[in-house]
């Protein structure tokens, strides 16, 4: 009798552990998806801002054609990128070309003082920051999720329901450095 109660108790505990772990894994997976969605929203916002910015700069510096072409190219790559890894690569390229653009703008004081340009610059700075911060937040949640998937005993539950580890949104070393600009 006592043995039966103990066995039932252990079984009940196991069931509770399974349900708890499964639910916590689902919550974390949703958090990862939501985090990715947040990055995506900001990346799209930046893509939408760029044509306006390019038009404004063109009004003052129409002959800087090479840079406009590179921005257009990087922008279309970013639009068509799929998944965190590919998107990270394309958008890092876009960030680099934008940095070059702002470095070029330094040579046009009247453009820098243009109110429309200043507004666009603030919007773009804010969007860049939001991208960086949502990426930082996304990587934090991915790490939390992956830890639970890989650690014992929750990895057993994760394996049974085939939870897959999240993909980190990586920043290449080059982006951490100041932009290198040649004139």
């Amino acid at each position: 009798m006592i043995a039966l109660i103990i066995v039932l108790g252990i079984l009940a505990l196991l069931v509770i552990f399974f349900i708890g772990t499964y639910n916590s894994l689902v919550v974390k997976r949703n958090r990862v998806q939501n985090g990715w969605h947040q990055i995506d929203v900001q990346l799209k916002r930046r893509i939408d801002l760029i044509p306006n910015l390019v038009e404004t700069v063109k009004g003052y510096a129409a002959h800087e054609k090479a840079i406009f072409e590179r921005i257009a190219e990087a922008r279309s790559l970013a639009i068509n990128a799929k998944g965190p890894a590919e998107s990270a690569k394309a958008n890092n390229m876009l960030s680099d070309t934008l940095k070059t653009l702002f470095a070029v703008v330094e040579n046009y004081p009247t453009l820098k003082a243009n109110e429309n340009f200043m507004k666009l610059q603030e919007e773009l700075t804010a969007t860049e920051n939001k991208i960086a911060f949502s990426r930082q937040f996304y990587n934090d949640v991915v790490m939390d999720f992956n830890n639970q998937i890989q650690m014992f005993p929750s990895n057993v539950v994760a394996g049974m329901f085939s939870f897959k580890a999240g993909e980190f949104y990586t920043v290449p070393e080059a982006e951490r450095e100041a932009p290198k600009v040649k004139f």
Partner: protein, 323 residues
């Protein structure tokens, strides 16, 4: 994630302190009300009314304390077009902290300062003064907003706001009772031989005197609860949220140079702000009753933080300060 428990412990402790403060003040109110009622020999109707008042007062305190705090400081909602940069900064820091975007308010004064208020992360507001927007650059403003959002995330805001309003009410009641007692009672004393009037005025003066003694003790309690450690912690976690301690350090340095006093602030609300609203208190030496740690010390601590992606959240790893 075992270290995350420290953040939950901190939040749980803040909620508990808030509850204790609300209950403590309700008891004080109840004692005053009962003493007044029995001394004046008022009937059952009075006690029912008084009970209702205490209930309504607590509901207002819990659900509207943020609006009261904003109104008392003359904060108005920041126009998204006029204050586009401020809105952008609040949005981006909220993303970094993983919180919903709080309400954004501006206080029209030259004195540079900022505070956060609300019930919790889902009902939070941040207010900054016009003077702050004028002297800080983008990075510094971001640091200040991150400090305020750290208070939001830690549930410091509800405790700080409730304590400010209770402190303000105590001072208000003390003034009312003392004035009633001396003016109304005092003027009637010679002409009126009615003993009830004389007794009532005595009670009012006594209650006023008790409150007068209680007020400074309560202010000391506030100082203990809203420990200066909380400011260090919000500095550190703010710097962690944006992964940059230099913005906030630069902002604090500029705030230290300002000599403008914040007109709307009082002793009851001083602890809500990012730096003391009284210019003379921003000096170097810390005294027992100071609401904030010395600025030079806060800046030094921020500058000693060298943050990298691998560094752990100070809220999650350091033990919460003991009071």
């Amino acid at each position: 994630m075992a270290p995350r428990r420290h953040l939950y412990q901190l939040i749980a402790r803040n909620k508990l302190s808030t509850g204790l403060f609300i209950i403590l003040f309700s008891i004080i109110l109840g004692v005053i009300g009962l003493a007044l009622g029995s001394a004046m020999r008022w009937g059952t109707g009075y006690y029912v009314m008084f009970g209702l008042f205490v209930v309504v007062y607590n509901l207002v305190l819990y659900f509207n304390s943020d609006r009261i705090a904003l109104a008392v400081n003359g904060a108005r909602a920041a126009d998204p077009a006029e204050y586009a940069q401020l809105h952008n900064i609040v949005e981006e820091v909220a993303i970094a902290a993983g919180l919903p975007k709080p309400g954004v308010y501006v206080i029209d004064t030259d004195s540079p300062n900022a505070f956060a208020t609300g019930r919790g992360p889902k009902h939070a507001s941040i207010a900054v003064t016009r003077g702050l927007l004028e002297i800080l650059d983008r990075e510094e403003l971001q640091g200040v907003v991150a400090h305020e959002l750290a208070h939001v995330r830690n549930y410091d805001i509800l405790l700080m706001t409730v304590v400010a309003i209770i402190g303000g009410l105590i001072i208000l009641f003390r003034d009312i009772f003392l004035r009633w007692g001396f003016f109304f009672g005092g003027g009637r004393r010679r002409r009126d031989s009615d003993r009830g009037g004389g007794q009532a005025q005595l009670i009012l003066v006594l209650v006023g005197l008790v409150l007068a003694i209680l007020a400074p003790i309560l202010v000391a309690l506030i100082r203990a609860a809203i420990s200066r450690q909380r400011e260090y912690l919000a500095d550190a976690s703010g710097a962690y949220i944006v992964r940059n301690p230099h913005g906030l350090a630069g902002a604090l340095a500029k705030l230290g140079q300002s000599t403008e006093k914040l007109r709307t602030a009082s002793n009851a609300t001083a602890h809500m702000f990012i730096t003391s609203p009284f210019a003379k208190d921003r000096g170097e030496s810390a005294n027992w009753f100071a609401s904030h740690p010395p600025l030079a010390d806060r800046i030094a601590r921020l500058n000693s933080l060298t943050l990298s992606e691998e560094d752990a959240d100070p809220d999650l790893t350091t033990k919460t300060p003991r009071h």
